[in-house]
Symmetry: C2
Subunit: 169 residues, 2 copies
Amino acid sequence: MIEQKRSGCPINLTLEVVGDKWSLLIVRDMMFGNRRHFRELLTKSEEGISSNILADRLKTLLDQGIVTWADDPSHKQKGIYSLSEQGIELLPVLAQMAGWGFKYLDVTEELGIRAKLLSEGGPRMWAEFMDELRETHLGIRRKRKAGPSVGERLQAAYEKVVARKAKQG
Amino acid sequence: MIEQKRSGCPINLTLEVVGDKWSLLIVRDMMFGNRRHFRELLTKSEEGISSNILADRLKTLLDQGIVTWADDPSHKQKGIYSLSEQGIELLPVLAQMAGWGFKYLDVTEELGIRAKLLSEGGPRMWAEFMDELRETHLGIRRKRKAGPSVGERLQAAYEKVVARKAKQG
DNA sequence: CTAAACTGCTCTCGTTTTGCAACTGGTTGT
DNA sequence: ACAACCAGTTGCAAAACGAGAGCAGTTTAG
């Protein structure tokens, strides 16, 4: 099976790797939702990916070195998927897509709040979040900063919107 | 024909619009190669898109408001495709993808040089290039800056690599 | 004036990808 | 022992993709 590239253009090559409707959603769920097991990715996804597609995409993400896999010592059947440095560095791509989508598409309030904050935060916030991801996915210690982490702030903002919407009915 | 969204997440919505292997390549060619006619997009593409796919993607890009269409007064059969503001603002997405691809994938030198410069140039350079695109695609005058434009600089760098490679044979 | 080349597509048809749903073989908790 | 949970796999129909030919009208070269 010879994988032939259509061209050596970096944009094209990137699209050949993650240019489909699911791969980046899986990366998103690993980044922002901290989904690390197959079942978590399968059932806790907003969009409802099907299991064969998930299995296939995880395989190519592994092949590409975007994601790594390890045994979960607490459970013989479970594996833990982690983002590699290469995967973590997809964050700016996701952040730009999120910002563009937030600006131009019909985004729901609770799912858009993270995009808004991330877009406003800019490269500085992205770098901080990537450091947090390096800690959780690669085990690389980072310097603690005062106050809540970027991940915590995003999550808190999301939950706040959900709570408000629930109250309003 | 009811278009149902999988979710209201901005990343998902963006992927539903441009998350395929061709749409962003068309935008890329319009941005960096100034391809404005159907034939230009069809025949001058690095990757060799086929005509039915090109027609289909242009249709959805038009529907989405990423691209606009106008008659070419110089030729009764020609139409001119232009990027809208919404389309121009895909530049940061492309730039991030280009930067990531340049760093991690097997990019050829001549096709990677633009990505390198754009990545190094950062948001400031992107903003300048977007202003140039607003001029050529939207007809919005911009303040002239001294020296060559970003578009010219990228093109010159590309041609320099091509010339050097040709000499080396 | 005529013919060749060019224009933006559309059509056909075989191949590939998608996605639902059921199923497998094993593990864990009660 | 048994239900619930784990990571996938398999079968199949529908949809999307993609190469190539074709088309009606337009422009250009001789």
